[in-house]
Amino acid sequence: MLNVDLIEKMGNIVGTENISVASCELYCYSSDASQIRGMPEVVIKPRTTAQVSDIVRLAYEHNIPVTARGAGTGLSGGCVPLEGGIVLDMSGMNRIVEFDLDNLQVIVEPGIVQEKLNKALEPYGFFFPPDPGSSAMCTIGGLIANNGSGMRSVKYGTTRSYVLGLEIVMADGKIIKTGSKTMKTVAGYSLTDLFVGSEGTLGIITQAIIKVRALPKERSVIFASFKTPELAGKAVVKVLSSGIVPSACEILDSNIIRALNNYDPKLNLPQAGAILLFEVDGSEAEVKEGINLIVKACEDLASAIRTASDKKERDEIWAARRLAGAAISRLDPVRTRVYVGEDVGVPIKEIPKMLHKVDEISKEFDLPIMTYGHIGDGNLHTGMCIDMLSDEDWMKLNAAADKIHRTAIELGGTVTAEHGVGSARSEYMRLELGSALDVMITIKKALDPKGILNPGKMGV
């Protein structure tokens, strides 16, 4: 329990303007975009690694929980302080510390927003590829903590592939550096990999060495329409086995298409059973070849195929796609999108089966389930909207989400491909990970013996 003396000490560390115990501020930091809730006792906005270290050391001495938070855009309750204590709002530590582009890297603080980093890199001809739907607001620290990814992960992989090293404040306040500025290193255990995706349960990220890529010379987007999502799923399997790796491969079902057309009528997407959006990037020749291969792989299954006419159309469709998750709330004035059971991943071959199962679950619970997501890497987002004032809707929603999670695991998949475990999915960790969860628990105990770092998350 925090007392006035401790709050004062914390205020002395970060400055009184960077600390708040106002009840409305605490309320605002009690949730992310998931349904998980937990009230902090204090919110602190550190500006330096030293401040983070001092705060965490104080918390360690007094057994106070510490939960790090980026932009609070998460969908698993990862930044929600389940056991109260301190929320460290890292969004103020948002500097690009070093542009080291000759070494294909930048050193950043965790609070920098993904889109702002990419805007800063663009003039130099580089980019940081992981691009979640929340790229306009999510922070790099949040992306690292959750190993987030996005639409281009089918070609470029997840955030993990771009983290060369980290500066971490450990549970007792010590500061360590992991990894290296080199493109590869095998010196010791890969602690960088351990901290990526650890959701703030093992340490607080205060700096990161990020690998960047050269921007591709060309990009092209193909829209392929299908009568059913299952047909689209079959087309994806065919495309991916034809030798082309698209830079994005997204599915939108008929409800999502309707929602996006509602959000931005200029899009005028064809009202098909499902649309696949493929993006191909690279040199002019590579893009041309990629388009030909995709068209060839889809032509027997698709009802229509066309390429985006220009950059403007391409940018508009991606901008709208990024917001698809929330846009489905627009379909019904009394229903709101609720993020549960929304992030399963299955092996690529199982995509058509998973889509079919989702359809069955939707019918079983009489609950419309809209499907979209990064189908190219087997990651499906299942969107459900409910009347939030209806207890019956909540029961249906939670039951459907549970079944979606279990189905994904039965198909050899995962309950979360990119959004994180947090506390929203921690109950499935034993089922999905088996005895590997015990190893995770051992690691957690070793690095955070007092259990002060983001307690109650990830099943550890």
């Binding site: 708040s20 106002a22 009840s23 409305c24 501020e25 309320y27 605002c28 930091y29 949730s31 992310d32 975009a33 919110v43 906005k45 932009a71 609070g72 855009t73 709002d89 969004s91 103020g92 927003v113 889109e115 929340s134 306009a136 607001m137 999510c138 959000y263 917001l323 698809a324 998750g325 929330a326 846009a327 709330s329 627009r330 004035p333 009394v334 709101t336 999108r337 609720v338 993020y339 939030m388 004032l389």
Partner: protein, 350 residues
């Protein structure tokens, strides 16, 4: 009650508004973002204690509507903020600035504390015709802070069968935005408009425009003076000016009501237009609206300065079509003079 709660629950807390809310950009705390305000509105519904911090969070919103424009889930944070301010006002919970604004505006008919006759700028009272198809709604800033501009505007308008509301009072916008009851002002203006028999109200202020159009009863046609004059340019015998200007879209005229083309039609018929960094629906707020200039002048000034950073290089003037935006942008210390679109029109008259 249920309708209000549903409106709050439309927010999925995705945080898209964090990337666009100018107030959040300045303050950095979650309670200063639209998402935070939606949460606080929900909190109040769930019993969150209303203290000074709650009032500040709600009242720091300029009601610029950029969050609403960008909101993927179709939530209406501006309406939620205004409704929550109203509910709290009814319970006697308000900031000092809200209180002053309410009392001044209700007692004096304007939020500026002015007591002299509103149409003192008018040379000849006989110009106020008893009956006319068009009424020019001057607004408080036009009446008391920009009398010369108002006189020139009316001189132009009266040729087109336009009259004034003899006992015009504030449209009620400052009260509506900050949670007070504008009914007595609305009634006083409406009674006179009916007597005049006008079918169309013309105004030069974005705040008056949105209030008259969206908050007044009946089916009044409301147009901005730039819309009225953009249709009559051939009759005005204008000369081309060797100038380059930029244009600030007032939030309550552009984003909230879709008036983008008419001011641009006037500008481009006179001189060259170079757009600001953000414009049309994405335009940044000047920082004055929603009672923020009155209640949080430092914040308002900071927002103004941010908007002024978006002025493109090589322009001679920053043109706008709202006296409140003009006032606040001028406060921010612009590198070029801020003028009203009617000032530009005057320069082009032969």
């Amino acid at each position: 009650m249920e309708k209000d709660l549903r409106s709050i629950l439309k927010c999925v807390r995705c945080g898209t508004c964090r990337s666009v809310c100018p107030v959040f950009e300045e303050a950095g705390w979650e309670s200063a973002s639209s998402r935070g305000r939606m949460l606080i509105a929900l909190g109040i519904h769930n019993g969150l204690e209303v203290d000074e911090n709650v009032l500040n969070s709600l009242n720091m919103c300029t009601t610029c509507g950029l969050c609403e424009q960008m909101c993927p889930s179709g939530a209406s944070p501006v309406q939620v903020v205004q409704d929550t301010r109203r509910k709290l006002m009814l319970k006697g919970r308000m900031t000092d600035a809200q209180l002053v604004l309410r009392d001044e505006t209700t007692s004096k008919g304007n939020p500026l504390g002015e007591t002299q006759y509103r149409h003192s700028w008018l040379g000849d009272i006989a110009d106020i015709k008893k009956h006319a198809p068009y009424v020019f709604f001057v607004g408080c800033l036009g009446s008391y802070r920009y009398p010369e501009l108002t006189r020139r505007t009316f001189d132009l308008l009266k040729k087109f069968d336009v009259t004034l509301i003899p006992e015009e009072v504030c449209c009620g916008s400052p009260l509506l935005r900050t949670g007070s009851d504008p009914d007595s002002l609305v009634s006083k203006n409406m009674e006179q408009i009916k007597k005049i028999g006008a079918h169309t109200i013309i105004t030069g202020c974005a705040g008056c425009y949105t209030t008259l159009k969206n908050d007044y009863p009946g089916d009044l046609k409301v147009i901005h003076v730039s819309e009225f004059l953009a249709e009559r340019l051939p009759e005005m015998d204008l000369k081309h000016l060797d100038l380059k200007v930029t244009y600030h879209d007032p939030c309550h005229l552009g984003r909230c009501n879709g008036v983008f083309d008419a001011p641009r039609k006037i500008i481009t018929s006179i001189c060259e237009l170079k757009e600001m960094k953000s414009h049309h629906e994405q335009s940044r707020c000047c920082g004055a609206g929603g009672g923020v200039l009155k209640g949080y002048p430092d914040l308002s000034m900071a927002l103004s300065k941010k908007r002024l950073e978006e002025i493109p290089e090589g322009v001679d003037y920053l043109v706008t079509s709202c006296p409140l935006c003009r006032t606040n942008l001028q406060r921010g210390g612009p590198k070029v003079e801020v003028i009203d679109i009617l000032d530009l029109l005057k320069m082009a008259m032969k």
